[in-house]
């Protein structure tokens, strides 16, 4: 096991009150595994990753029962521990590469700096390495590209540069948080195919975050569905897709039209209502105001995570009235 997280909660203390962004989130990640994380905007996908990277702002209060990284205890409140892992053992790619790159420095300067500080390479060795990394991520005439500024790159190109930088220290875990949301579909496919190639080649584990279930389905081995800061269903990708147990997962799957199948101009299955405010959470199951299976017990008690069979190869979900197995 590369990573094990037990009961991670994150609360933001803001001027307009407290907000519980993550509530008792537990998950684990095998070495070499791709975990897909889906959920609507605000469901807590990024917060859990930022907690792992030690990049949450000071107003965030982090609580955990247990965190193990490479079988060693990890304190998510210790900047010292986290900064030793960040960029080296754990690397992250963000949605918008342009904001992650410094606009006033050349691509080369930024890459060399990372390589020199993290790997202790000489300037010359760092340059050689940077060129080979850029070539690896499919950037042509890499040596010339070192001299350009981020704004001279297209979105897809900038994301390739980010990927090259993120893999430069051979991380054990690569977190890709909506890495292609800002890109065209054709570029998106190229970038994701590249990421998967690299993941296999370097035997990294990957957390792949997206609000697009179709993407996660295609690129992950295991899926984790988040709603209002909780994991509501998780399991092997094909099982969750074929046989969702939680009504929200079912709704997400049905709500999205497909470019390849299905009739046109028919009503889509739409989940009514909107996500709850995390400042004023509903009682009981967080999904109950939108759920067509909701009963009295759902309004009163938050269902605990149950699993069909207690094994990581099986689906687990938190629902009082799950959909039956097919």
């Amino acid at each position: 096991m590369l990573l094990e997280i037990e009961k991670l909660s994150v609360q933001f203390k803001t001027e307009s009150g407290n907000l519980l962004a993550l509530r008792d989130v537990s998950f684990s990640l095998e070495a070499g595994e791709i975990l897909g994380v889906v959920g609507e905007s605000g469901s807590g996908k990024s917060v859990s990753n930022l907690a792992l990277m030690g990049l949450l702002p000071d107003i965030a209060v982090i609580n955990t029962k247990k965190v193990l990284f490479q079988n060693h205890p990890l304190d998510l409140n210790s900047q010292k521990q986290l900064s030793q892992l960040r960029g080296k053992s754990i690397a992250m790619i963000f949605q918008d590469p342009m904001t992650a790159l410094n606009p006033s420095l050349t691509v080369g300067y930024q890459m060399l700096e990372t390589l020199q500080t993290h790997l202790g390479l000489s300037k010359k060795a760092a340059k050689m390495k940077a060129i080979s990394l850029l070539e690896r991520v499919g950037i042509l005439s890499a040596e010339q590209r070192l001299k350009v500024y981020p704004f001279e790159l297209s979105g897809g190109m900038a994301q390739r540069v980010m990927i090259a930088m993120s893999i430069s220290c051979n991380p054990k875990l690569l977190i890709a948080d909506e890495p292609t949301t800002a890109l065209d579909v054709t570029i998106q496919k190229q970038i994701l195919d590249l990421l998967i190639d690299l993941q296999r080649e370097k035997k990294m584990s990957m957390i792949f975050v997206s609000h697009d279930l179709a993407l996660v389905k295609k690129y992950s081995q295991r899926i984790q569905v988040m709603y209002a800061g909780e994991i509501i269903e998780t399991g092997p990708t094909d099982q969750v897709i074929k046989n969702p147990h939680h009504p929200y997962t079912f709704g997400l799957l049905k709500a999205r039209p497909s470019a390849h199948a299905g009739k046109t101009k028919e009503h889509l299955y739409a989940i009514p209502g909107t996500v709850p405010s995390l400042r004023a959470r509903p009682s009981g199951c967080q999904f109950h105001p939108r759920c067509n299976r909701s009963t009295e017990v759902c309004k009163k008690t938050n269902p605990s995570v149950s699993s069909l069979q207690p094994s990581p190869l099986q689906t687990s979900f938190s629902c009082h009235h799950p959909l039956e197995s097919l």
Binding site: E40, I187, A255, P257, H260, A270, T274
Partner: protein
């Protein structure tokens, strides 16, 4: 008769450079298509291919260099502004930026009829409330301000406002791109209902193939400002002819 016909449309942006030189950038080349009554035409293509520019030309927010655009049998350039607003209305991508933050929901929705038709406020409010009901917004939300609504609700406000003058054509530029899947489905269903109820025609712009396939009767693929494929959606998606359309479809998850 077709509601809208576009023939040989060419559009360039001309930007002034230093030294008094002008730089011309061609964005639409010989674009040609027609839109029938009660039809939804989907337009797909990648970022920068000219989708929004086309929408702006059709609503006369941008002029064009050559070609002919006919709307309900009249030359687009010669239609008086007041009549034009009754023929075409546009819904913008960003439900956050396109609504006046200082106006209440009902005022935003009633704005077109108060301005164009000079409808008195009390009557305008009644009509706005009726339209809110049609797009699935509860009347008690009418006095809230834009920031108090969710993304999907704001998009409903934008759609309600665009429908107030009962236009023949609704142009929607990436209307669901900023929305979560569950909300996206709500808005797509609403658009299909409104098409039936009002007998509307729509031009639905999106970079998302699955959404265009779902909602449109016909699909048009733009590539670097040119129409590379256009036909009934079923055919385009089942049996794409142009290499670019094929690449697009293969890339879609």
């Amino acid at each position: 008769m077709n509601l809208l016909s576009v023939k040989n449309l060419n559009k360039s942006y001309v930007t002034k450079k230093l030294m008094g030189k002008n730089e011309e950038r061609k964005v639409l080349s010989n674009v040609q298509f027609e839109l029938g009554e009660n039809k939804i035409l989907g337009i797909v293509g990648e970022s920068g291919c000219g989708k929004s520019t086309l929408a702006k030309v059709l609503t006369r927010l941008e002029d064009f260099q050559s070609g002919e655009i006919t709307l309900c049998g009249q030359n687009l350039r010669e239609i008086p502004q007041k009549n034009l607003t009754h023929l075409v209305q546009m819904v913008f991508q960003d439900p956050y930026q396109s609504l006046n933050p200082r106006k209440m929901a009902w005022e935003i929705i009633a704005d077109p009829i108060m301005v164009v038709e000079k409808t008195p406020r009390p009557q305008a409010k009644i009509q706005a409330l009726a339209m809110m009901a049609k797009v699935g917004l509860l009347p008690e939300l009418s006095e809230r301000y834009p920031h108090q609504f969710s993304g999907g609700q704001r998009q409903r406000i934008g759609i309600a406002r665009a429908l107030m003058l009962k236009p023949k054509i609704l142009i929607l530029d990436e209307p669901v791109s900023a929305l979560d899947v569950s909300i996206q489905a709500q808005v797509l269903n609403l658009l299909l209902d409104l098409q039936k109820e009002f007998g509307l025609s729509m031009i639905f712009i999106s970079h998302d193939l699955s959404v265009v396939k779902h909602i449109s009767d016909e699909t048009l693929v733009l590539y670097f400002g040119e129409v590379v494929e256009h036909g009934p959606s079923e055919n385009v998606f089942k049996n794409p002819q142009h290499a670019y359309t094929k690449t697009l479809l293969e890339s879609a998850p």
